[in-house]
């Protein structure tokens, strides 16, 4: 079901136009449905060798010795490399995206189970794995730090003794908002509610794991690297810094990527190992991790232990929100976030509400676990922020005896308040929250659902209705504030129109399934009138695309999409001058009619963009000062983020005999401003909602007290199948971003951000007869069962 509610009439979805925005089938699909996608593991080069990584079986241990002799003698083995060997080249450690360092191969000790210890290069993958079994490592096992809440206790084992003078497991402190002002508001509030909440460690688990093919040519000194990266240009720069290969001699190619979800933003040791292996052997080397390696060692998500506090008046006016967070960052701080934002954009935890004060204090710690934190469609920690605020607002509703929808409606930031500066300093660009909320309630039949719930409760049946209303912050970001390792978060775009009026557009961002090859062609088509089928979208090849920071944080549409619109306008401006020469009128006498310039008042006199393209490349004079060709390039520096919003309503039924939760309905109304391709947005939302079901009900990367990872395969790390999710019901409103060239906001992560609190709120609502006010994810049957009996416990 799709319900249309348009508030602003200057931007439309328009399925009728032949070129531009609307439901256009994907240009990517024909190759994928024929099995002709080209993923990293499909790359085969002459003489290619295969690399396998030996990983630590324990969470924390000194390495006493490594004996590789038997492995070296194993059939087909070309090289066996240890951390000590990398250290001789200065490559044993590499910088992370958070200005920490991470071991490529462990030298002194291992710091998490699954950490890279050595690698083997062999003629095929089977031989490489055989040889791993023959490497003999002697470990002196140390006590691990597993529980983040005990990481700073005196006497806790120091994980990062590699860092000069480090005597504890403290990673960083961070705060935002006004502590004193917030305390003052809390002191005079009628009602204060506080709640401990854990957002457990989960994993993005893209279906394609991480991998690379490195091909270093010793003759021309050029490194070609096919890899599963969401940020090929940033990776190229980092490899240049790490390996000392000049940047113009590195070509990073990110081919078709089988899903990223933030997992493929960081640089992993395996990539660096493949590069080293190719340099050492003089052959192309492929590294492709398996699922267990992906789950145990690559970027996890979440792992925030939060205390949320909310202050309000007795009649339901929210006054202030305060939170204290303990963040578990694992053994190395590998968080992928703008450097000035160690907690990402968690500062938006005040949500969609107009409040008087807010404050957050955060402490991050090292533990003996894999690095990560920012991943899995979190938009830089907004998943955690939205979960916090939407859970404590529900706790407040419960305390006040108010309907949770009514409480939200009463406290929304009002449309006339935008641009709205939050108490933590974020400037929301636009929003009209109430119509979005009302539409979701109408689609759900909210009043009827509450009546049904009353009837079911009377019969002893457990039904819950959960609401989440979120404001996202996507499109990082303004270069004066936001950079990754010193690289400003702008994005380039290049558009070249060929003589016959076909075009190629080159992007700095990198799709992992989000449909960029289709939607960027639509943006260009909308701006310049060339049909999308005549526009080829090139991305993911650093030799052939302009520099930019890649795809994550739902930033492609806000940043790169803006760049695409503006570069097309730049080309159009030149086309206008050429057209004026062709029609022998001044540029002021021309009007644009999507695909052609015509003379005002004389519509019979016109030239198409295709005519102009030929003229630009052909014989004959061009207007004075105009060069031949029809192309342009720009680098777009956004002035602000975009702030899409949404209203989600979830209906669950719980079997009182088994505590099994069934998500019966899920209504999602999203507002991402101007919609480029409604079909693709719907697909993005569906995927994110399934993430929410997974996180809320099934997924967790757990550890035992020895630091063994208990979620390191799909036998234990449970992802939703078609049986665990309902048929989603989506709708939308349109509130454009005023600062964006086409009014479009990002949306890809909205559903992953917004759905978990809706599901948890529904479950807690269903368990009201048991007096449950909160239960932590993942709400598996056993955890719901315990909650029903008053034994709700944190997951870690």
């Amino acid at each position: 079901m799709t319900t249309v509610h348009e508030r602003v009439d200057t931007f439309h979805d328009n399925d009728q136009k032949p070129v531009g925005y609307g439901r256009m089938l994907r240009k990517e699909d024909p190759r994928f449905v024929r099995g002709r996608g080209r993923f990293v593991d499909d790359v085969r080069l002459p003489g290619m060798l295969h690399l396998a990584v030996l990983r630590s079986p324990v969470a924390h241990a000194r390495i006493l010795s490594i004996d590789t002799s038997a492995a070296e003698a194993s059939p087909g083995v070309k090289a066996v490399v240890t951390g000590a060997m990398l250290a001789e080249q200065g490559l044993a450690w590499m910088p992370t995206l958070s200005n920490d360092v991470q071991a490529v191969l462990a030298t002194d000790k291992v710091r998490f189970q699954g950490q890279e210890v050595a690698f083997v290069v062999a003629e095929d993958g089977y031989a490489a794995r055989d040889a791993l079994e023959l490497i003999d490592v002697e470990y002196d096992v140390l006590d691990p730090v597993v529980d983040a809440r005990r990481a700073l206790e005196p006497g806790a084992p120091v994980i990062r003794d590699d860092l000069e003078g480090k005597t504890d497991n403290h990673c960083f402190d961070w705060e935002t908002g006004d502590e004193a002002a917030t305390a003052a508001v809390f002191a005079r509030a009628d009602v204060v509610v506080s709640q401990d909440l854990v957002y457990p460690r989960v994993h993005p688990a893209p279906m394609e794991t991480c991998g690379a093919v490195a091909d270093f040519d010793p003759v021309d000194g050029k490194l070609r690297l096919w890899s599963t990266t969401q940020a090929p240009h940033a990776h190229r720069t980092l490899y240049a810094l790490v390996a000392g290969i000049p940047e113009h001699k590195i070509q990073v190619i990110s081919p078709d990527i089988g899903g990223g979800f933030g997992n493929k933003v960081p640089i992993y040791p395996g990539y660096v190992c493949a590069i080293v292996a190719s340099i050492v052997t003089g052959k192309p080397v492929k590294w492709m991790e398996d699922r267990s390696e992906n789950l145990i060692s690559t970027g996890f998500a979440r792992d925030y232990i939060m205390r949320g506090e909310i202050a309000a008046t007795r009649d339901g006016r929210i006054l202030a929100i305060r939170t204290n967070v303990l963040a578990d960052h694992g053994a190395f701080n590998g968080t992928a976030a703008p450097v000035k934002y160690p907690a990402g954009f968690f500062g938006v935890f005040t949500g969609s509400y107009d409040i008087e004060a807010a404050y957050c204090k955060m402490t991050a710690v090292f533990t003996n676990k894999a690095p990560g934190g920012v991943a899995y469609a979190c938009s830089f920690r907004i998943t955690e922020a939205v979960y916090l605020v939407e859970r404590i607002v529900d706790c407040l509703a419960d305390e006040l005896g108010m309907d949770p929808a009514e409480l939200r409606l009463k406290n929304f930031i009002r449309p006339e308040q935008f641009p709205y500066t939050t108490k933590t300093g974020w400037v929301y660009d636009s929003g009209d929250y109430e119509p979005t909320m009302r539409l979701a309630m109408e689609m759900a039949g909210y009043a009827d659902l509450r009546r049904e719930q009353q009837e079911k409760r009377a019969r002893g049946e457990l039904m819950g209705i959960g609401i989440a209303f979120f404001t996202e912050a996507v499109g990082a970001g303004p270069r004066k504030n936001m950079d990754i390792l010193g690289l400003g978060m702008a994005d380039g775009c290049e558009l070249r129109v060929h003589p016959t009026g076909k075009a190629v557009v080159r992007l700095s961002v990198q799709s992992q399934g989000q449909g960029h090859e289709t939607t960027f062609a639509q943006i260009i088509a909308e701006e310049i009138g060339i049909p999308p089928d005549d526009i080829d979208v090139v991305h993911g090849d650093t030799d052939n695309t302009p520099f930019g920071l890649g795809t994550y944080g739902s930033r492609s549409t806000p940043v790169s999409g803006a760049a695409a619109a503006l570069v097309a306008r730049k080309v159009r401006d030149k086309a206008r001058i050429i057209a004026s020469g062709m029609l022998e009128v001044s540029v002021a006498d021309l009007e644009w009619d999507k695909g052609s310039f015509r003379v005002k008042g004389d519509p019979g006199k016109s030239v198409t963009i295709q005519d102009i393209a030929m003229r630009a490349h052909g014989a004959g004079d061009l207007p004075e000062g105009v060069e031949g060709g029809l192309e342009a390039q720009i680098c777009y520096n956004p002035s602000n983020l975009t702030y899409p919003h949404g209203a989600y309503i979830c209906v669950v039924d719980i079997d009182p005999g088994t505590a099994q939760v069934k998500v019966r309905r899920f209504i999602a109304v999203d507002d991402c401003g101007t919609r480029i391709n409604p079909m693709i947005i719907e697909g993005q939302v569906h995927g994110g909602l399934a993430d929410g079901v997974g996180m809320a009900l099934m997924e967790m990367i757990a550890f035992d007290e020895d630091g063994n990872c208990l979620g390191a395969s799909l036998m234990d790390y449970l992802l939703p199948t078609a049986l665990e999710v309902p048929d989603w019901e989506t709708g939308f409103t349109v509130t454009p971003s005023p600062h964006h060239p086409i009014g479009a906001k990002g949306v890809g992560e909205s559903a992953t951000v917004g759905s978990p609190p809706a599901i948890v709120n529904a479950i807690v609502d269903a368990l009201e007869p048991f007096g449950v006010r909160h239960a932590d994810m993942p709400l598996t049957p056993s955890r719901v069962w315990d909650a029903m009996r008053g034994n709700a416990r944190p997951p870690i």
């Binding site: 089938l25 994907r26 990517e28 699909d29 024909p30 190759r31 994928f32 449905v33 024929r34 099995g35 002709r36 996608g37 080209r38 993923f39 593991d41 499909d42 085969r44 095929d124 993958g125 089977y126 688990a205 893209p206 279906m207 394609e208 794991t209 078709d256 990527i257 089988g258 899903g259 979800f261 398996d290 699922r291 267990s292 992992q512 399934g513 989000q514 449909g515 079909m679 693709i680 719907e682 697909g683 993005q684 939302v685 569906h686 995927g687 994110g688 909602l689 399934a690 395969s713 799909l714 036998m715 992802l719 199948t721 078609a722 049986l723 999710v725 048929d727 989603w728």
Partner: protein, 182 residues
């Protein structure tokens, strides 16, 4: 050891190790890289191909076990240039995003429609429950399979109608080859 099997109607014979998995035989030996590998515990189903017409997870079959049998992969799903209705359905209904689970999903869907041409939504969800998709949230995959079922039924009805028309002496001027699905 030597193994001989039929892959997408072509007989192939290769020298292989006994431990070689069918998924690696297809991808690395034959270069049929449409079949993917997404896990190591037989859960994800991105490697689904047919063994004698039945969907199997090719990561959990030794290549040697396929000796003497017929294997069909995503590359053998279309009939020449004409896409299978399942392939068309996935495109029409946006049943794929990154495309990594798609080959396996389509092979399972085709096998389902072969034995049950008119499956309900619940039957489709059950049929693909051995397969994981991280992008779509499944709803559009269900719609894609239904699209294929409906279009195949319509095409079959059109063929029947055309045959009846011909028998009645009418001229078929639709210009479509019998049985084509547009």
């Amino acid at each position: 050891m030597q193994v001989t099997m039929t892959v997408n109607d072509v007989e192939v014979t290769r020298e292989i190790e006994g431990r070689l998995l069918l998924v690696h035989f297809l991808r690395d030996v034959l270069g049929l890289t449409g079949t993917h590998s997404g896990c190591d515990t037989s859960n994800c189903g991105t490697c689904v191909v047919w063994l004698d017409g039945e969907p199997v997870k090719s990561c959990t079959v030794l290549a040697a076990m396929a000796g003497g049998h017929e294997v069909r992969t995503v590359e053998g799903l279309a009939k020449g240039a004409e896409l299978d209705p399942v392939q068309q359905g996935f495109m029409q209904c946006h049943g794929l995003q990154c495309g990594f689970c798609t080959p396996g999903m389509m092979m399972t869907a085709r096998a389902l429609l072969n034995r049950n041409p008119d499956p309900t939504e619940a039957e489709i969800r059950e049929a693909i429950s051995g397969q994981i998709c991280r992008c779509t949230g499944y709803a559009t995959i269900v719609r894609s399979v239904r699209w294929a079922a409906v279009h195949e039924a319509n095409a079959a009805a059109a063929v029947t109608e055309t045959t009846e028309s011909r028998e009645a002496g009418e001229i078929d001027n639709a210009g479509q080859p019998a049985g084509s699905v547009v």
